[in-house]
Symmetry: C2
Subunit: 337 residues, 2 copies
């Protein structure tokens, strides 16, 4: 990506092992993330080329001399952050704060490619059992969006019998619906307005959809919740407006789980938030920590997050994939190199 709207497919040498803890992965499937659309909209021209993409599944092609657990030939999920698997934060299940960690496509090359170097391969990659091709899309979602939706639900403290609202009908918000349902929410309200996405939200477990925005949307959520709002709000957008809506629809004592990359500097309403005992949590999801738990649900067919992929492109099709997601013609684009 050279700048806003300027995505080019270029032939570059395959990556090579650099550290003894690296692996090389041949990408089977990658995808375009909603968060990739932020630079697609505002990356300055002339700011240099960024190699994009941070979600993939693939086959391990080579490993460095200190890689012990991951083997050549393993079929693996690559979470969007790499992590050593051994530091205090990894032990605590917060791999996105690993002391030797970083983010793919920022601290490495991008995954929208044929092959990728994986730092800290032993801590990062999750080897999969031999599986069925029909599951590839859902397995790919475990590299980011499904784990991120789950993180939003945990940050929002979804639990049995709770009322939850999901702000954002992108792939993460839709996976947030799956996560809220999985964790036992009794009511799940999707705030969004695109009929195809709302249909998918309902299929995933949303009980109500609110297409209204701003104050009208807030009032609609209050009507649907006996006047008080929801215990849990999954904030899956990251704009100032979506955060303001989250604070307006959360019930006293409730929690907001933020997973939309925030495009605002301060959280407003520090006083009403205090008087209403609202908590705000969330951040980059440690999806590595969640794979084992979510994978069994995928393998046994209890959840089908792969349905968020509604378009498949090859590498040449990636620029058009960005365009389609930006135009909201597509929820999420899978890349098959």
């Amino acid at each position: 990506m050279y700048g806003a709207g300027d995505v080019r497919v270029e032939k570059v040498p395959d990556p090579t092992l650099r550290e003894r803890t690296d692996a090389l992965v041949r990408v089977a499937r990658a995808c375009i993330c909603g968060s990739d659309l932020w630079p697609y909209r505002d990356k300055p021209a002339g700011s240099g080329a960024a190699r994009m993409g941070h979600e993939a599944i693939g086959i391990v092609e080579a490993v460095g001399s200190e890689v012990r657990r991951i083997k050549v030939g393993d079929f693996v999920i690559m979470p969007f952050a790499f992590s050593d698997g051994t530091c205090d934060f990894c032990h605590d299940g917060l791999q996105t704060s690993c002391v030797h960690g970083g983010f793919f496509g920022m601290h490495t090359e991008g995954a929208q490619a044929e092959a990728l170097r994986i730092p800290q391969a032993d801590g990062t990659l999750y080897p999969l059992p031999a599986g069925d091709d029909s599951l590839l899309a859902s397995l790919l979602s475990l590299s980011d969006v499904m784990g991120t939706g789950h993180h939003a639900a945990l940050g929002a403290r979804v639990g049995p019998g709770k009322r939850a609202a999901v702000i954002g009908d992108g792939a993460v918000g839709l996976c947030g619906v799956i996560a809220a349902k999985r964790l036992g929410a009794e009511q799940i309200i999707m705030l969004g307005r695109h009929p195809d996405r709302l249909a998918l939200a309902r299929r995933f477990g949303a009980t109500d959809c609110v297409p209204e925005r701003g104050q009208a949307g807030v009032e609609r959520v209050r009507e649907l919740t006996g006047g008080f709002g929801t215990h849990a709000v999954l904030e899956c957008v990251g704009s100032e407006q979506s955060m303001a809506t989250a604070l307006d629809i959360v019930r006293p004592g409730g929690a907001i789980g933020r997973v939309g990359v925030p495009h605002y500097d301060t959280i407003p309403g520090a006083q009403p938030m205090f008087y209403r005992n609202i908590s705000v949590g969330g951040g980059p999801a440690p999806v590595r920590a969640y794979i084992a738990e979510l994978l069994s649900d995928v393998l046994e067919g209890r959840i089908e997050p792969g349905l968020v992929f509604d378009r498949v492109v090859d590498l040449q099709g990636v620029p058009d994939g960005y365009r389609a997601m930006d135009a909201r013609e597509s929820i999420k684009v899978m890349v098959k190199p």
Copy 2:
């Protein structure tokens, strides 16, 4: 209180029952709260008289016709908020958001008095077993500061083996130390600078004390915690500076429990807070929900929060009690009408 620094003791008629759900309580002990010092410092002259005080224990003198559970003669704790005990929020243990609730000294007369009308008596008052006079101070602390310290610790997600920091060496901060220890924190760092208060903090379970402020204090906490800060931060002050310090000393994945009434409008650092997966929670403590749990520890001598009272005054002594707390000559002043 007529204005900043202007506290007067006046003879007024005793309150009477107004609603059928009211009770009248003869105050045995009341006290002055750190939060009373905010208006003591900034209440405009000419803004009218406020009847102050929201913490008390006492004897029930009369009950309205719809009061069922509370009886004349009961010795009771009066939490700083009144609540009906039956609404959804009371059922959830968030009595400070009760739909028929409010705060003593704001929505009622004040507790720094001989007698007080108690709205929603059945939901509000907590009857005590006949007890020993030596426990009065600790029982009184359950009407606010001990429950508030506990709420800070819960908001900061203190648990076994966690590192906790407490910002503020007032009565609430000191009770926060008791709460953190009770919940199993392995390290408890008190940020404060008054030797008598730090001595009490150590007696309550603080393992380290940090008298430095600002950046020097932040660095000291990091040194004491292997460089990463604490899992839990109990923010017991409410100033912009104390909140900034909380965000600087909390470890990635950690939580800040706010109980200091916030004197700032926004929470800064929405982006670093996100990238570090920090959560911020807390608010007015539903102390009514915590009495049962904390009371058994008081009655069995496992905790002694009453030690935060280091001065006793009669009603005539209340103005000097404010002065002494404001000058930090006293941690917390008990009022014996």
